[in-house]
Amino acid sequence: MCGIAGIVYKDGNLHNVGDDMTNMLHALQHRGPDSAGFALYGGLGLKEDEYILNIQLENTDKNLLRKVQDQINMISPIESDRLISTTENANLYQCKLKLDDFHMLKPLIQQVDNIDDSVVVINGEHSFSMIKDVGSVLDIADNYNTRSIKGTHAIGHTRFSTESGVDLYHAHPFQTYIIRDISLVHNGQITNYWKVRDPLERKGHVFETNNDTECLVHYIADKIDSGYNLEEALEQSVEDMDGPFSYIVSTPNGIGIAKDKLGLRPGVMAETDDIFAIASEEVSLGKVIDTSEVEQIYPGEVRVFEI
């Protein structure tokens, strides 16, 4: 059991998305106590060629940090950086850099990852802030000052771990570097995982974990990269995935949800003139939107809202 949530402000302007998503996820804390995460879109304000790397360092050894900085500087000069403490007292190193091509990001991440076992790149981002960690929603929100972040839309997750480890790296959202700034949160299990993953690996997708959510985000990115729009990709996923699932995908333009054909995982939505919101349960929607007209997401159904 996990909790998932998504919100879009229909006017496309910046709103208090960090605060709203924190409240939505806090209401879903009972669905997953292990870790939580946010993908908050629209507020970073980076230029077209600017990216942010989030890197976990397991110790505060200055030589280790210098090695990481040197590795990055060999590819592109670091423009700015900072160190943040994670909820487990590790260190999150965050730096901004420029890349001529988005596809340089994944090789750079791999090079940094290979420096040492104590260095793990959490993600590279352009139009969204990925915040995820072990612990409770409120602790994470406080630690990363999540409530202050503004944006146009967001997705989030509270995790009850069933299939893989409880650590920062396995916390949702997951993303991929096949296309830029796609992220995904998931409640459920993909039971034909290897059947989905094998063809993607043969096409060149590189997987970092054995987590089925990572497989889902690769699948959706692959479909969009092949010319599907978000709605078509989600509809095709309902045909191709086995198991109980409901998941929310976010792109820089909006969010969408897909639910398995047997309807074995929950999903509800509500919509006003200003907001489109999705969550595992109404208790989450009620934190951000009038819930007098809540709609069920039916088995096999897909709902999308793009700005």
């Binding site: 309807g263 509800v268 349960e281 929607l285 007098s292 809540v294 069920q296 096999g300």
Partner: protein, 224 residues
Amino acid sequence: MADIKEIDSSTITPRELNKKIRLINNEYDKIVIKNPGAEHNLVAGIVGEGNIVIDGSAGYFAGTMLDKAKINGNAGWFVGDNMTSGEIIVEGSAGDGAGQGIYGGTLVVKKGVGSRTGEIMKGGTIIIGGDSGFMSGIFMMGGRMIILGNLGADAAESILRGEIFVLGEIESLGKNAITIDLTDEDKKCLKKLLTEYDFNLSDDNYNNFTKIVAESSRPLHGLE
């Protein structure tokens, strides 16, 4: 004058709320729960003749095993799960598994519900004012379900006994489910029941219902 007790649930947990209601249930004609906030398990496991109003939305398992409740908002999954008698009325919509396994009583949801409504129900009545989703009435073993909207795919999958009345479209029937004509007695019963719960249909509507029943009461044995 009715003796009514209001409880603000915004400052206490559902467990504390239920404990409190259990203690005072027989002292008041009606208990009104304010600010329910769509929390789970509201008034669940309270067996008896209480008359409880949830003034807003409830989460999962609302009213489980209770005899009389009214929810002035929506309800999450499994509203009225295992109810045995009395009535639960939801003014809004409800999630999956509404009325799962009920033995008796009447569950009324004024708007639509999710999937698997009335799963393994053994008796009682479920009335849905809107649509009901996929596999509603799966493994139904008794009782009566009335759907005023459309019914999703694989309706009444593996039904053994009981009956489902549908006013809208049926996407598809499940195994062992067949449709038959309504009798005049069926129409009379429907009208009486629906009028009682303020669903005022025209006389013509009662000719438009479809009735779903089991083809065989022992489909798994291949014997009749």
